[in-house]
Symmetry: C2
Subunit: 449 residues, 2 copies
Amino acid sequence: MSKHDKIIIVGAGLCGSLLAIKLAQRGFKVAIYEKRSDLRKTELDAGRSINLALSSRGLLALERANLKSSILQECIPMRGRQIHPLGSESFLSPYSGRSTDYINSVSRSGLNIALLKEAAKYEQITMRFETPVVDVDLKKAAITYKSEDETHQDKGDVVIGTDGAGSVVRRTMMKHTPELLFNYSQDFLRHGYKELSISPNAQGQWKIEKEVLHIWPRGSFMIIALPNLDGSFTLTMFHPFFTEVGFNNLNSKDKVSEFFEEYYPDLLPYIPHYQEEYFNNPVGTLGTIKCYPWQAFGKTLIMGDASHAIVPFYGQGMNASLEDVRVFDEVVETHGNDWEKVFNVFQDERRENADAIADLAIDNFYEMRDHVDDQAFMRKRQIEMQLEQQYPDYYSKYSLVTFKPELPYERAMIRGRQQDEILLKICQRDDFEQIPLKEYHKKLMQLRS
Amino acid sequence: MSKHDKIIIVGAGLCGSLLAIKLAQRGFKVAIYEKRSDLRKTELDAGRSINLALSSRGLLALERANLKSSILQECIPMRGRQIHPLGSESFLSPYSGRSTDYINSVSRSGLNIALLKEAAKYEQITMRFETPVVDVDLKKAAITYKSEDETHQDKGDVVIGTDGAGSVVRRTMMKHTPELLFNYSQDFLRHGYKELSISPNAQGQWKIEKEVLHIWPRGSFMIIALPNLDGSFTLTMFHPFFTEVGFNNLNSKDKVSEFFEEYYPDLLPYIPHYQEEYFNNPVGTLGTIKCYPWQAFGKTLIMGDASHAIVPFYGQGMNASLEDVRVFDEVVETHGNDWEKVFNVFQDERRENADAIADLAIDNFYEMRDHVDDQAFMRKRQIEMQLEQQYPDYYSKYSLVTFKPELPYERAMIRGRQQDEILLKICQRDDFEQIPLKEYHKKLMQLRS
């Protein structure tokens, strides 16, 4: 393996910065180009804003770069969903029957900064910010970038695009559609999202239960909340655009307050500034992007959100992107710098798994919105909790996806769906309360054979 | 209804030119912009090249513009598929048990010229050729076009993009993705196509059976042939790109002749120039394009291939585009020039039907390639022929799609698939040969209730 190969990475987000670190650890030269400014220098508003759920797939990828323990110090564990039904008491729905299984609330920018600081320690890595890549020569692994209004070129042995859902590298591949037979889809939910917040109390502490992910499910819409280290929570409203309670209709102070008073009365005491935030904060879209191939001419590759953007309802978008890096690194370990081989093996291994988590995330959108507070769903969750408590070999679908990082997403999806079908059938029987837990377990374990 | 509304049509292909005629017949002003040169002036090579199957949906649309009988004079009827298995005699598989049902081979450019000539008769229609539209202001119904290297503007009451699979109007809508929540997918088969031909004989006549669509099915690949008015046939090779017999591998004269001698020995006597044609003619891609919405801001609409490009295996691409015009015209008849209403009603009525024919066309790719010469398929076709002969109310799936123009594609697909399932079940019974035809018919007719 030629350690002198130079890899150009487009995009210094979570995926790109972790990838740079792993490639540097393997001895390659890395040049990162990032269009945004250097997050390390604008750290001020980093603590707030977007937070994400970091779980075992992301942690395994960080562990492979020896970063797991340091990152965990910036996380708040979340052991379950705290459900806030309209008009009745809230309750906890644990993520797993095993107390060792939990997910972690982490600041997106905080994590990115930690990875950039780590990357800066490697002298083989060069990083350029405020330097948008405007074109890629897919066959020559050459890029054109802008810096201070001037256009420059750089050339590597390969180019890897980790430039997110709006990827310029992917768009360049799309321009080569006939040659690459480039398949592509973008699919938007008729729902969008808007962020609100709960401020810390006077002591800088959390005003509502800290170590959970809160959900206020309301049928066709919902609000969720994740805790931040500074005592605040970031709230996300997931709402339709076009219906009566949709973002496009809630366009006056009166309508908004009437709506919140009707649907989120229990939340109102914690969000005195909601009107201001509602009208100041933008509405984001929620889309799934799939494409194929991910590589072009053995010289250019896309990974992370650039090749598979998903909706956030399984908390797996970031984890899937970090897992891309873990899997890519394993392929490099096997095939070295035979990049065409590496790229093909990687895309063939990852593509179906990326499709699977995309589909699971869409499924979970409907589950979180419609079912987390209904009887049948809660009964099934209860049985799954008991199964996980008593049988170390049992993992629910959610646990397979979230707490089994070595199991590929696609297999987690297939097995999880089979389990769900079996559980649902039993729960529909008249005598389901008399069925001993070991009967459930026996039926479920037959799936393995 | 204001008859003075001006409609800008982008693209003077089959869909755009028929649309212009219909709108002019309703009294609107129409301005067509076409990037290609005027086909009427380059008529020479019009007789050859691409031919298409015009069937009852396209004919109904033409009839509504009083053009059916004149167009039929340029068509060659095709009553069935002439199947040429490897190593055995060819045989005819009729399209329908009714002798009145047949499809028509027509020259794409010949039909386009006929429509352009018709459009030229209306003084409310202006047509500009070699005038590519480069940008559309979706909200203002304004376009920017290039003419002789200069950029100009035009503004209408609405803009309708009928500019094909590579639609500039659709691309402009895609740039408004967040605002429109614009869903889009392009999906390419790993197969491409290349055209060859059979020349007329010395008397200017057809060397093989004229009034059929010929197929040489060969498992993962095939050749088809449609007759032209001048005695020639246009052949289309549908082949994988990447396998051993794929276009990318058949890259030397030796390989190509070895391949044709092995797989198409019966065809060779008719195609003495196949080597020349194989190496001169380009390979095209086969893709399905879906998107939504088709309209933007009540001012801009796309239809035809611009909004739903499909693979050619059901012979419905052109028919679906012409049917778009028929349905659009019916919506205009009801809602007049309330364009926002017209566009919304049209897209909601057509979208699922466009999705249905796209999926049927993909299904047929596998059916034509793999099954047209297998026993079970032929048995089922035989029963369907008998049913169609004896029961005027029975239509096979193919007939529902091809010969029932008033039945929307989606309903044809659903009913056709249900019928197929029932027929397949009966054909799998041991006693299937003893089952009287009226039993089949009874079971199939139960679907209607």
